[in-house]
């Protein structure tokens, strides 16, 4: 039988603490969502100053990455490159800031961040994932 790694609550706390620290270090107020590979919410944090819209956007970015197994920025790039038909993909928010969590070659979930510029959102999400899996993951 095939087995695969699973995100635990402890993993989520580790990811979120590092992502929040990265945001605080830069004085950014963001919402951070962590989902499992089925797109189910495991952990969520909205820092003071982040808007209700950020809450919804962070969730959607994370869902995009969790279910498509690629960064939401990747979708953004493909559309920017001219594949505008990708805008109609179901459940896809093509805005940078969602990053899949890949462990042992398998997508086990995703982190979505919203609140600052989208490349900064992705930087925060990646910082969270790096804390769990090590840098360059």
């Amino acid at each position: 039988m095939k087995t695969r790694p699973l995100l635990t609550q402890e993993d989520c706390l580790k990811i979120c603490a590092a992502a929040e620290a990265e945001a605080r270090r830069n004085k950014w107020n963001v919402a951070i969502a962590i989902l499992d590979d089925g797109g189910h919410l495991l952990h969520f944090t909205r820092m003071d100053g982040a808007t209700p819209a950020n809450a919804a956007i962070a969730l959607e970015k994370a869902r995009t990455s969790a279910l498509s197994r690629r960064t939401s920025g990747n979708w953004e790039e493909r559309i920017k490159a001219g594949r505008t038909s990708m805008l109609k993909m179901p459940g896809i928010l093509p805005v940078q800031g969602g990053v899949p969590i890949i462990a042992e070659g398998t997508c086990i979930g995703a982190v979505g961040v919203s609140g600052v510029q989208s490349h900064e959102d992705e930087q925060i999400a990646q910082a969270g994932i790096d804390a769990l899996l090590g840098k360059g993951s």
Binding site: Q9, H40, L41, T45, R46, D48, P52
Partner: protein, 156 residues
């Protein structure tokens, strides 16, 4: 003079009516939300209950959320739904549950938009003002309610 008196009486009446329901205060901040989740989880862990806990602001938007390992998947959304109901209707979901249990005209509550009719959602009240809602799901409704109360009480 008579008209003025009437106006004053009407004003006093509407004030009295308002005083009966808790008013909204500033929305729950992240520090408060984390504190409530930690207290709720401590209660859940003590009883061996795997639950999801959601904290929502006064508008029903998510502020913080955490799911314990082995919580049933359905509870993810149910916890958020209960917290939202408690925040935007400013009353515990148990109130709606009891109304529905009595049957008859009370069943209309089930058709209220975004209302949850299952115990486990509580308004978070600080200094007499509603600052948000806490929703818990994962075990039996009354047990969810115990966890929600532990979380809400931590901010009193």
């Amino acid at each position: 003079m008579k008209r003025l008196l009437l106006a004053i009486t009407a004003g006093a009446l509407s004030f009295a009516a308002q005083a009966q329901v808790p008013q909204y205060g500033n929305s729950v901040n992240l520090e408060q939300a984390k504190k409530a989740i930690a207290a709720g989880q401590a209660e859940a862990r003590k009883n061996g209950w795997p639950v999801a806990i959601a904290i929502l602001d006064t508008s029903g938007n998510l502020v913080a959320y955490e799911k314990m390992d082995n919580t049933q998947t359905a509870s993810i959304q149910v916890a958020i739904d209960k917290g939202k109901s408690a925040a935007i209707y400013r009353r515990p979901t148990k109130v709606f549950e009891d109304i529905v249990a009595k049957g008859g005209a009370g069943l209309r509550v089930m058709n209220l938009r975004d209302a949850s009719v299952v115990d486990g959602g509580l308004p978070i009240v600080v200094d007499g003002k509603v600052i948000g809602g806490i929703g818990v799901s994962g075990v039996a409704g009354d047990q969810d309610g115990v966890v929600a109360k532990a979380g809400a009480d931590a901010l009193k």
